[in-house]
């Protein structure tokens, strides 16, 4: 059966048949390319023996070599050699694959114009809606889906990087059993045998291990299997889903509940070690709602308090931030609960946080029903329960926080779940283990010895995108279809269902989770499309199903599927010690999912590995993150290297972190604002398998964890090893050095005198030059970036990388200060190192009207357009780098080496055809996405109108969840960007240099609580 048949012929809009690797066995003999046959006949007449060899090569005896990426090159070399020998036949050689041109052009497809398809990406059991841009059937760019409540048009770094995940050349490509390539039917046979053996036992030996599941269909499939085999067990383990938050609702309300925050209604917000704006379910929506309340003048500005261990983007946006050790957080929350009058809460002495907590409590009490307390995913269930109780006591429930049915198909205590699985495996009760996605051998707590236990299972099956640590220990490795290649469905943070539609046929012989689970059912050959559509046709019994389905698939969100708020009783305040013994004190370690690679699932994604992490700006590594005071006490730290230095390379002391007999070694990195006497380590590194990128990056912090303490460990110690390790850090100088790169005032100051923001600014008069001023009739493009709204989440950086074909350069080059990102998130700290104010400043090209780069280019490779863009002419560039030297913003990026991968075929598919792929020796930089500008201009011209405001969105602006970046026509007084530029917060970065930047910034305003002070 051809797999294209799985597509719904009526799905709207249609995707085109995408290029696939030729399955030669399936091609009938007559389908060989006609020119090849012509030459074959002629040459056979000639009786040329060399050509005989060529014919043998031409015909598919070598097909394995084509499919195998390692052998392909050898094959091509052989082909090249035989071509040369074959002489004249080389001139007219046609590709061996049958190329089918469009005889009739597919509906809606205009070559050169992209089509957009709605789909959704699930992470940790929650989906966010995406819109995927496809060029001639190739997905090239991911955007947020404006119709989806969890996206509103924004996408996060993981969504943005999904394109590279799809085209990752290291993906698992073929079904293997113990490393040998197998056909799908032989797997089905093996399953049939295993299941038949289990039938009399009612499936007592069957275990299915999944991640958190957001797909109702997949849940139904598992329940179908469990119905068939009542004694089979379903386990879940997903490090990316909030196990403790889940447990928190159970502890507070006695049942698992979904939690939704309404930042738009909250005047005062307190986060308890919660990076709620930049990660976790609904964060894109929350960031949008939060940022909407950070624009003084529009609506009353909110106030954010953050209590946290490691500075996060959310904490950086806070008006007041308190760094606490993990063990100090619960007492602080208990004190707060008592202070706001949560029933049953007793005040405790929370030590140094007491004054802060009391001030926050007073502020929260003053905003009853319009405030919000959010606990972070890593916090204990008790802290979550306390937060619920505090919200209840403050009358926030139903206003700023609502509870719904859980979004996940089956919420469960995942730690208990995987423990039970390990026990069963160790006891030999498991005969067949099916691991559906996830990499438990790497991510499970090491003291469970999941891998060893798994070795006792007679039949082990693993479905995954990459051949990873778990694959190595499994019999059957089933390559997984990427979510952009398969049908599915998923629920958003508020319960809204999205139909996940594929935007390209699977690139390799891969299967989706639906297809794998179907293999365990009575009807093993059902396609994912039939399964998903079948599920919803049963759920929605209506004669209009067909029309509705098309609408759902088209919109990417099923209307009216959001969960209704659920009335809940008062949250119980857990007694102290409800989580077991309190932290033993001493040096503490906090474990966190990495902001770029999460639990390691994105470790083979070069875009994410090279993405400078928020706050630390580290790439290609994790580190032992400590406060400056702790580093001083440990007499360890980092030194900028002679090469790269602060922009690239920090030679850091390698320390050994010891905790209860376990130890890991990693480089120490100092983070201003981190809590003292504790360290944060990020998970997801130190992989041993999983592609070419993932292994060998960083250290495996998981090795330090115990199942009893997954988020925090106490009683640790850090010892210097005497060795050093170079950390690739794209910014190590976090001080502004009195240069006012970020302007910030308090709300009170701003309201008293809005000019305080731009005080001392000096803009040179335009009369300095003898030349007449250029008029800029027509369009005059400009950008305004709101420093107050930016949460430093990095989505714009990855969006820009995807849109503009920006290469990954690798750690060695980042160490030399040569990363290629066109937009960067400059991070600055102000104030004392133990509690700094942190600001994020996205810096793309300023598109200066008096561009310093333009005058110094000897060949005119960077020139000014009549619309005010500073254009790069790659063809003309000879690479003197003078423009970069003369750019005061240092936004230009140079191809010092051949950074672009010209060879890997799968990566070629993912490139944006509207943007030149730059080669070695050429300067490049942000263009304001000139390809999008021109496309919109052409459209507008065809329709005889001017470009509307908002019609053009550069990739960075489009994906920004906080709407911090606004682009538009400065000649249009009604445009959003014009309004922002007229704001009193507007200032030009380094405007005193008379560069007249078109990109300007809106200064930060902090809503300071006078009781705490600045």
């Amino acid at each position: 059966m051809s797999r294209d048949d799985q597509r719904d012929p009526n799905a709207e809009p249609r995707t085109n048949p995408a290029p696939r690797i030729l399955n030669v066995d399936a091609v009938p003999a007559g389908a060989a390319p006609v020119p090849a046959r012509f030459w074959r006949t002629l040459e056979e007449h000639a009786g040329d023996s060399r050509f005989d060899a060529f014919v043998r090569q031409e015909f598919p005896s070598q097909v394995e070599a084509i499919v195998d990426p390692v052998q392909r090159r050898t094959f091509l070399k052989l082909m090249g050699a035989s071509m040369a020998l074959a002489g004249f036949s080389a001139c007219t050689r046609q590709p061996a694959e049958p190329i089918v041109p469009y005889v009739r052009q597919p509906e809606e497809l205009i070559p050169g114009r992209p089509l957009f398809y709605a789909t959704a990406m699930s992470l940790g059991g929650v989906a966010s809606g995406l819109l995927v841009e496809c060029h001639e059937g190739r997905p090239t760019k991911v955007e947020g889906n404006a119709l989806h409540p969890g996206s509103l048009g924004a996408a996060d770094v993981f969504g943005q990087a999904a394109i590279l995940g799809l085209y990752d050349p290291d993906r698992a490509r073929t079904l293997t059993r113990l490393g040998e390539i197998q056909a799908w039917p032989s797997f089905l046979g093996a399953m049939r045998a295993a299941l038949t053996a289990q039938t009399p036992l009612q499936g007592a030996g069957i275990r299915i291990l999944t991640e958190s599941i957001a797909s109702p269909t997949l849940g139904a499939q598992i329940h179908e299997i469990l119905a068939r085999f009542p004694s089979a067990r379903w386990h879940q383990w997903d490090p990316a889903s909030g196990d403790q938050a889940r447990a928190g609702t159970k502890l507070a309300f006695g049942e698992y509940l979904g939690v939704q925050y309404h930042f738009d209604r909250a005047d005062v917000v307190l986060t308890l070690d919660a990076d709620v704006l930049s990660c976790g379910p609904g964060s894109l929506r929350y960031a949008r709602d939060f940022a909407a309340r950070r624009r003084p003048g529009d609506r009353p500005m909110n106030r954010l308090y953050a209590v946290e261990v490691m500075p996060t983007p959310t904490g950086a946006r806070a008006d007041h931030r308190l760094a606490l050790r993990p063990g100090q957080i619960e007492p602080a929350v208990r004190r707060l609960a008592a202070a706001v009058g949560a029933p049953g809460a007793a005040s405790v002495d929370s030590g140094r946080s007491a004054a802060f907590v009391d001030a926050v409590a007073a502020d929260l009490r003053a905003h009853r029903g319009a405030c919000l307390v959010v606990a972070g995913a890593e916090q204990s269930p008790a802290v979550h329960a306390l937060a619920h109780a505090i919200n209840g006591a403050l009358g926030n429930i139903g206003r700023t926080i609502t509870y719904t049915d859980p979004v996940e198909v089956e919420p469960t205590d995942q730690l208990a779940s995987i423990r039970a699985l390990v026990d069963d495996m160790n006891a030999g009760r498991v005969d067949l283990l099916v691991v559906v996605s996830g990499n438990p051998v790497y991510t499970a707590p090491p003291d469970l010895k999941f891998g060893d236990a798994m070795g006792r299972v007679p039949v082990r099956v693993h479905l995954s995108l990459h051949e990873d640590e778990t694959s190595a220990l499994c019999h059957w490795q089933i390559p997984e279809s990427h979510f952009l290649e398969s049908w599915s469905d998923a629920r958003a943070f508020d319960g809204t269902v999205s139909i996940v539609q594929p935007v390209i046929a699977p690139l390799y012989e891969t299967r989706s989770a639906h297809e794998l689970l179907a293999a365990l059912s009575e009807r093993p050959e059902r396609s994912a499309y039939d399964i998903v559509r079948g599920f919803w046709s049963r759920e929605t019994i209506t004669p209009e199903f067909e029309a509705r389905w098309r609408r759902w698939v088209h919109d990417g969100a099923v209307p009216d599927t959001a969960f209704a708020p659920k009335a809940v009783g008062g949250a119980a305040v857990p007694p102290p010690g409800a989580d077991g013994p309190a932290a033993a004190g001493g040096f503490e370690i906090a474990f966190r999912a990495d902001p770029s690679v999460l639990d390691g699932r994105f470790a083979n994604n070069g875009w994410l590995q090279e993405l400078p992490k928020p706050i630390t700006r580290l790439t290609w590594d994790n580190a032992v993150l400590v406060s400056p005071a702790t580093a001083a006490r440990l007499e360890a730290g980092g030194m900028p290297a002679t090469t790269g230095g602060e922009h690239g390379q920090i030679i850091s002391d390698v320390v050994e972190v010891r905790c209860q007999g376990r130890s890991v070694q990693g480089a120490l990195f100092v983070v201003p604002g981190h809590a003292d006497d504790c360290a944060t380590v990020h998970l997801g590194f130190g992989r041993t398998r999983g592609g070419r990128v993932a292994p060998g990056v960083g250290f495996d912090a998981n090795a330090l964890r115990a199942a009893s303490a997954l988020s925090f460990a106490a009683g640790a110690e850090i010892v210097k090893t005497g060795r050093t390790h170079p950390l690739a850090c794209t910014q190590y100088h976090f001080l502004m050095e009195g240069r006012h790169t970020v302007r910030a005032v308090t709300l009170e100051e701003f309201e008293r005198d809005p000019a305080a923001m731009t005080e001392g600014d000096e803009t040179p008069p335009k009369t300095l030059t003898l030349y007449p001023e250029f008029p800029y009739d027509g369009y005059k493009w400009g950008m305004a970036i709101d420093v107050n709204a930016c949460i430093g989440c990095n989505a714009c950086v990855v969006a820009c990388q995807a849109e503009n074909n920006i290469p990954v350069v690798g750690k060695e080059q980042v160490l030399r200060g040569r990363e290629m990102h066109w937009i960067r998130i400059d991070t600055y700290h102000r104030g004392p190192a133990e509690r700094p104010e942190t600001f994020f400043q996205p810096v793309p090209c300023m598109q200066c009207e008096n561009a310093p780069c333009e005058v110094v280019c000897p060949v005119g490779a960077t020139v000014h357009s009549h619309e005010g863009l500073n254009d790069m002419v790659y063809n003309r560039c000879v690479g003197t780098r003078y423009c970069s030297n003369n750019c005061p913003y240092k936004v230009r990026r140079f191809n010092f080496l051949l950074y672009q991968d010209w060879d890997t075929p799968s990566l070629k598919l993912g490139r944006n055809p509207d943007v030149t792929v730059r080669s070695r020796g050429v300067m490049e930089k942000c263009t304001y996405c000139v390809q999008r500008i021109n496309e919109a201009k052409i459209d507008a011209e065809k329709e005889g109108r001017t470009v509307r405001d908002g019609e053009i969105q550069p990739a960075c602006a489009q994906t920004c969840p906080a709407e911090a970046i606004v682009f538009g026509n400065l000649n249009d007084p009604g445009s959003r960007v014009s309004a922002l530029k007229a704001s009193e917060r507007n200032y030009a970065l380094l405007g005193e240099l008379n560069t007249r930047p078109r990109t300007t910034y809106l200064g930060a305003v902090r809503n300071v609580n006078a009781e705490i002070g600045e």
Partner: protein, 467 residues
């Protein structure tokens, strides 16, 4: 003194007899001068030292070839340059080599016009030095580009079907004109000066190859009065053309920096300060070369103590001008009250490159003050050491200007460091090799002192002139 003059073994032996004021030792006649200079090329056996030195220099030239080949193969990334420090060794070396070249032109053109007859014995190899230094310098602007195969001709204004011209506002284009003009004029000046001597070599050469080659190069020189007349006119004219180049070339090179808006580069003092620096480093290089050559080939009669002293004095003066430049630069940076400008001297003195900065001050300002003492000026060893130190100091000066200004400019978020890589050093050392190899070839195959001009310096010539 006839054929077979032996090289003076003791380097001081000959010099002792020469009074400090003399520019040529007494007792020389037309024929002794001709014999002595031409014998180095024609008669004497190539000394083993020459072979050794040439082999070493040639080896380094090969290192240059290797470094360049690897550069073209891989890209500029093999060097240490990065963002923010987009220029590194290549531009440092370029400015350094161009600067060195200046002494040659100054000696041959300006001192000629000023009738400083003492210049005669050193001008030939100073000019050769200029030429070779410019050749080395010229490599760098091409090689440092990302796509040298295009830069090598796109920087020139040549008519093309696309009607694209270079961007004439860029100082790099001015550089192209300045340096190519300089190279052309220097070559012509040197070659025209050589013609009478080439004819001498043609006439004296024992081998057929020598006669043919020197003969072709001599361009039919017969020594007639008309020849001499035209020769001297041409030579003077060329000197006149070359003279403004001494000032203009390094002025234009300094514009590469001064035109940019970068703090530490954007300075009006740069043109005079660069010219002074160029002459300073050029004289240091002439001394570095003259002192050993004079000893090895026993030319103390011609390159006398007076020459060395005069050059030392020029160094002292230009060194003080350079010191004044440093001082003014720092003062104005402070006086401007511009936070970016005033940070530059502070960062140079206390920042990441402080050790290089203070070495530069020591090399260029402190050590050369020894030249105030006559004892130092008359000691070849001391002079040689100081010359080497000044050469290093002037290289460091360019390193400091290029690197420290770039590594910390306006936005602290982009501050970074730079260090040369193995390939940076290879290219630099490689050009030293090329320079020396060319010099070795020059002293072996061409008269390193102008025979014709030296003869005109003799009393014999003056007597005839009076008649």
């Amino acid at each position: 003194m006839n054929e077979g003059l032996e090289p003076v073994a003791d380097s001081n032996g000959g010099a002792m007899e020469v009074a400090t004021r003399d520019v040529i030792a007494p007792g020389h006649t037309f024929s002794t001068v001709t014999d002595k200079i031409s014998s180095i090329v024609l008669a004497r056996r190539t000394p083993p030292g020459w072979w050794f030195g040439f082999a070493a220099a040639f080896l380094l030239t090969n290192l240059l070839m290797l470094a360049v080949a690897y550069l073209v193969l891989k890209g500029t990334g093999i060097w240490g340059v990065n963002v923010p420090v987009g220029w590194g060794f290549a531009i440092v070396n370029f400015v350094w080599w161009i600067g060195i070249g200046h002494a040659g032109t100054l000696i041959s053109a300006i001192l000629l016009l000023l009738k400083q007859s003492w210049r005669t014995s050193i001008n030939r190899f100073a000019e050769a030095m200029t030429l070779f230094a410019v050749a080395c310098a010229g490599l760098f602007p091409i090689l440092h580009t990302g796509r040298p195969w295009l830069a090598i001709y796109w920087l020139f204004p040549y008519p093309n079907t696309m009607g694209i011209w270079p961007q004439f506002r860029s100082p790099l284009i001015w550089d192209v004109f300045a340096v190519s003009t300089y190279a052309t004029v220097s070559l012509l000046f040197w070659f025209v000066g050589l013609i009478p001597d080439l004819a001498t070599l043609r006439d004296r050469s024992q081998s057929r190859v020598g006669r043919v080659v020197y003969g072709m190069l001599a361009m039919g020189w017969r020594g007639s009065s008309m020849h001499w007349h035209r020769y001297e006119t041409a030579y003077l004219l060329l000197a006149g053309i070359a003279t403004p180049l001494v000032v203009s070339v390094h002025t234009v090179v300094s514009f590469d920096f001064a035109i940019a808006i970068l703090p530490g580069w954007h300075t009006t003092i740069f043109p005079p300060y660069f010219v002074a620096g160029a002459i300073y480093s050029g004289f240091a290089m002439v001394l570095t070369l003259a002192i050993p050559i004079r000893a090895i080939y026993g030319l103390e009669d011609f390159i006398t103590s007076r020459h060395l002293q005069n050059m030392a004095k020029v160094m002292l003066v230009t060194g003080l001008v350079v010191a004044y430049g440093y001082l003014t630069e720092a003062f104005i940076a402070w006086y401007s009250a511009d936070p970016f400008e005033s940070y530059v001297p502070f960062n140079r003195g206390t920042g990441f490159y402080a050790s290089q900065y203070w070495s530069l001050i020591a090399c260029n300002i402190v050590v050369p003050q020894l030249l105030w003492f006559k004892k130092v000026r008359t000691s070849t060893r001391a002079l040689f050491t100081i010359a080497i130190i000044v050469n290093i100091g002037m290289w460091l000066e360019r390193y400091i200007i290029v690197v420290t200004s770039l590594h910390r400019d306006f936005l602290p978020s982009s501050w970074g460091n730079y260090a040369g890589t193995f390939w940076d050093w290879s290219t630099f050392v490689g050009t030293l090799g090329l320079f020396l190899a060319l010099l070795f070839l020059f002293v072996r195959f061409l008269p390193m002192i102008s025979i014709a001009e030296m003869r005109a310096m003799l009393p014999e010539a003056k007597v005839e002139g009076r008649e």
